[in-house]
């Protein structure tokens, strides 16, 4: 075989002497710049690597390298255009992709360049994201993995929130008792400054050794003050953004149907974790809620024929039922050789037939059963008038029983739901077609979430439930004067959940601020929610008098980021024309604002060798499907989704398709 030796490592001769992570958050919009400097101390040219992980919700906006005083700057291009350059690179035998999925929350950007003897390289990478409020807090996640202690290591975060910061917490997965006190945190009303810059000695695993303690996630969590029901409206440089998260609203009761996959593939830990999470979830139900439990494989069983009020007795009974939920996989065919002796020939034949049948997954009929139950109970006025209806589907596999055509299932469910309830889908593991669940949830006022196989799967399930379980308002409408704003992002939300935040942004026409009335309508527990108020422009110089002009066009970029996210979502639903329009607009905005989104690529041209031509490399934005795919194929993935079928010894076989 061709040489399989490792490429030369940088350990001895290449020194990363500076690494700075500089994050500025301005009204939830985080702008992060990572600068890394390395020196090739050898007297020959060396390959230098830059690897950085960024949150998957972030868009890369810039990447540049400075080598021997020359700048190589990445350029964002449409995917097709970039692909042509990429194909050229591939045809010459180079690996061109720079971004790979990394874990649950991050994606990894990596690039390497050859630098001459005794010379420097500086890598600068910038990415931006709108921080999402979940369970009452925003989170800034920075993953750092220097291979050895770095002379100048620094993570600096400045948070500017005009509403005022209610708390800030900084922590890291690699913190020891010695490193924790090195975090410097200053919070003064509407500004927070957090920095962490250990010396080389403090970074070392042990005195004099090369290993570094700095390896993991640096996490900042914070929240802002919520003074008014209307929320906070900021107008800066011709763009406005409205953050809506009213305090002190009571939760609206919910009627929730849990639809649980118990097919054979849920065998083992998955079904145990499902039971564990469901027990915790049921325990947390409010007495005002109603609930139902449906389990399915190819057949469908429900606990009771209609939804049940979550009284203590009923919850206890529901929990008893949950404890009985078992996967319906069976030891069929080859596994049943031992059982064979205990069964008659006919039993055994029946058993085998049943086995094949039981391994199946009928998502269509199971969800429809949940929908019908809610519809029927509504019609019979068994449920409180002011309450929200939701279905939570948990599945780990593809439909292969009953209706198996995915578009048809989506159509059936969308039509049965008819806008009357929300559908939340949890996709367990990697066998599931996430985009199918995602599309189906979005069509039905819900969201989908991937549940990663692992010891914390039950916690992920509970966490998701907590996020969506407490609806404070339904059918929320945020209204702005038509003649004052345009290019609005989505301003209608079917639900507003406790601990979250609705963000709407738009352009202010002619800076007409005299007539900027804002109204919010929604349905609350007891009565309709209605607030209105006048928005005024924020004078940032006044709020932050001691700062230099650092804020620039962040509101415009926030608006662009939000718009692109929503256009990308819209590009998956609606008519073909609507999809094409949304895609075209998202592409245009991605290019205009230089965001690496799933529609664009960043082309990085770097010098390959002293004599050879420059070669392009491509940084792409991964979609959730691509991430899932990457996990399926990754050699590094330690929890294979096919774990239940790992043979004890090698198997060699031939079969047809």
């Amino acid at each position: 075989a061709k040489s399989l030796q490792k490429r030369s490592t940088n350990e001895a001769t290449v020194e990363v002497y500076s690494m700075k992570v500089d994050c500025t958050v301005t009204s939830r919009f985080a702008h992060t710049v990572i600068t890394s400097k390395a020196l090739n101390k050898a007297n020959f040219s060396k390959e230098v690597f830059f690897e950085m992980e960024l949150p998957k919700t972030a868009f890369i906006t810039n990447f540049s390298m400075e080598i021997d005083g020359q700048m190589y700057v990445g350029e964002v291009k449409g995917k097709e255009k970039a692909k042509k350059q990429y194909e050229k690179a591939v045809s010459s035998g180079q690996t061109a992709g720079l971004v790979k999925a990394s874990g649950r929350k991050m994606e990894k950007f990596s690039v390497s360049v050859n630098i001459a003897a005794e010379s420097n390289v500086t890598f600068i990478m910038t990415y931006e994201e709108l921080l999402q409020r979940k369970l009452g807090q925003y989170e800034i996640l920075t993953r750092v993995k220097p291979k050895q202690p770095v002379q100048e290591f620094q993570i600096v975060t400045n948070i500017y929130e005009p509403q005022g910061i209610s708390y800030v917490d900084a922590n890291a997965t690699f913190f020891s008792n010695e490193l924790l006190p090195l975090v410097e945190k200053r919070v003064t009303g509407n500004k927070a400054h957090i920095s962490f810059s250990p010396t080389m000695e403090q970074q070392r695993k042990c005195p004099g050794c090369d290993g570094t303690l700095i390896d993991g996630d640096f996490i900042i969590k914070y929240d802002v003050n919520r003074a008014t029901s209307l929320g906070d409206i900021q107008i800066v440089n011709g763009y406005f953004v409205h953050f809506f998260a009213p305090p002190d609203l009571p939760a609206v009761p919910k009627n929730v149907v849990f639809v649980i996959d118990r097919s054979g593939s849920m065998r083992g830990r998955k079904i145990e974790q499902t039971r564990e999470a469901l027990l915790a979830i049921l325990k947390d139900l409010s007495e005002e809620d109603y609930f139902a439990l449906i389990q399915f494989d190819s057949s469908i069983d429900s606990w009771r024929t209609s939804l049940t009020k979550a009284t203590k007795e009923n919850v206890d009974a529901g929990m008893d039922y949950v404890r009985m939920i078992q996967d319906r996989g069976c030891k069929c065919h080859l596994n049943s050789l031992n059982d064979r002796n205990t069964l008659s020939t006919i039993d055994y034949t029946v058993y085998n037939v049943l086995c094949v049948f039981l391994l199946a997954t009928n998502i269509n009929d199971a969800v429809l059963k949940g929908v019908n139950m809610l519809v029927k109970d509504r019609e019979e006025k068994k449920l409180p008038e002011r309450s929200v209806d939701m279905i939570i589907l948990l599945t780990d596999g593809m439909p292969n029983s009953g209706e198996i055509r995915l578009p048809k299932i989506q159509e059936n469910i969308h039509s049965a739901i008819g806008g009357k309830m929300s559908l939340f889908c949890l996709g367990f593991g990697n066998d599931v077609d996430y985009s199918f669940l995602d599309g189906m949830s979005k069509q039905n006022k819900g969201v989908a979430r991937r549940i990663f196989e692992g010891s914390d799967a039950a916690v992920q399930l509970q966490g998701f439930y907590e996020e969506v379980a407490s609806t404070l308002l339904s059918e929320v409408d945020l209204r702005y004067p038509d003649n004052a704003v345009d290019s609005l992002t989505t301003n209608h939300y079917s639900q507003f959940f406790k601990g979250s935040e609705i963000v709407v942004a738009g352009r202010v026409m002619n800076n007409d601020l005299d007539n900027f009335m804002v109204e919010v309508f929604g349905q609350g527990l007891e009565e309709d929610f209605k607030v209105q108020g006048q928005a005024t422009a924020v004078d940032w110089d006044e709020i932050y008098p001691n700062e230099e002009y650092i804020f620039g066009d962040f509101t415009e970029r926030l608006w662009a980021y939000l718009n692109i996210q929503q256009l990308l979502e819209n590009s998956k639903k609606g008519t073909e024309d609507e999809k094409a329009n949304a895609t075209a607009k998202a592409l245009e905005m991605s290019l205009h604002y230089s965001f690496v989104t799933p529609l664009t690529s960043m082309v990085v041209v770097k010098p390959e060798t002293e004599d050879g031509p420059d070669s392009p490399f491509i940084a792409d934005k991964l979609t959730e499907d691509q991430r899932q795919q990457a996990e399926r194929v990754s050699h590094q993935y330690t929890a294979p989704s096919y774990s239940y079928r790992q043979p004890a010894q090698p198997t060699y076989f031939v079969d047809g398709d």
């Binding site: 591939v90 054979g264 064979r340 090698p650 060699y652 076989f653 079969d655």
Partner: protein, 239 residues
């Protein structure tokens, strides 16, 4: 037909397709030291499907263990076994368990035949039953080796050559023709092959739907992975 080499110690699998003219017989396992032969004959669809793809499947296997005097012919119709000097004929519509001196058979009606040859090899033949009036497809068979560790080092054939392991490395993962199937470079048997990450199906547990096995797919009839090329494994008769 698709071939899969599952390598649990690497949590990985290799796969390739062998396409041939219907009627061709391939050598799957040949162990001259133990006197074992497994040959399989392929068959095509009833006619070319609208998608224009011509698929072939195994429909008949011939298995011989010369030392034990065992001879089996398994087709999509029936199973003939010569053991202890006697011919036994079984139908796929039977459920049967036959224990002999040198061979054990376990037949699950319309589903699988498990064959254990004394001190040598254990395998399963799966029957895929297709609707009799299907316009294109026919019934076909799958062949799964469950235990081959007693075979000699000289074992060969399209499957047999892998019984004693295979050394390979894969690197350079890159986007492939379709986004969900990335390409990579495989270094194997002194060659550098372009391979594609994909899936093939293992039907042992779920004979109807199968289970996806993620694997590195070697193009062009496994060229580069198998010794020689596919035509080197064509034999003239089933036995």
């Amino acid at each position: 037909p698709h071939f899969i080499i599952e390598l649990p110690e690497r949590d990985d699998a290799l796969c390739f397709n062998i396409n041939g003219i219907p009627g061709t017989i391939f050598s799957l396992v040949r162990d001259p030291e133990q006197g074992i032969l497994v040959n399989g004959q392929i068959i095509g669809d009833k006619k070319i499907a609208p998608d224009g793809k011509i698929k072939s499947y195994f429909w008949r296997f011939g298995i011989i263990h010369q030392t034990l005097g065992v001879r089996l012919e398994v087709s999509t119709q029936d199973i003939s076994v010569l053991q202890d000097g006697k011919w036994v004929k079984l139908l796929w519509s039977d459920t049967a368990s036959v224990k002999g001196l040198n061979v054990d058979l376990l037949l699950t009606k319309d589903c699988s035949l498990t064959v254990t040859l004394k001190d040598s090899v254990k395998f399963v033949v799966l029957l895929h039953k297709v609707w009799v009036n299907h316009p294109y497809h026919r019934d076909y068979l799958g062949f799964y080796t469950l235990d081959s560790h007693l075979l000699s080092p000289s074992v060969h054939g399209l499957l047999g050559q892998f019984y004693h392991g295979i050394e390979y490395e894969v690197s350079g993962l890159r986007p492939g023709e379709v986004p969900e199937k990335p390409d990579a470079t495989m270094y194997v048997k002194g060659q550098e092959l372009n391979v594609t990450r994909g899936w093939q199906r293992d039907f042992r547990r779920d004979v109807k739907n199968g289970e996806n096995v993620p694997c590195w797919f070697i193009h062009n009839n496994g060229t580069g992975l198998i010794d020689g090329d596919a035509t080197d494994y064509v034999v003239s008769g089933l036995f």
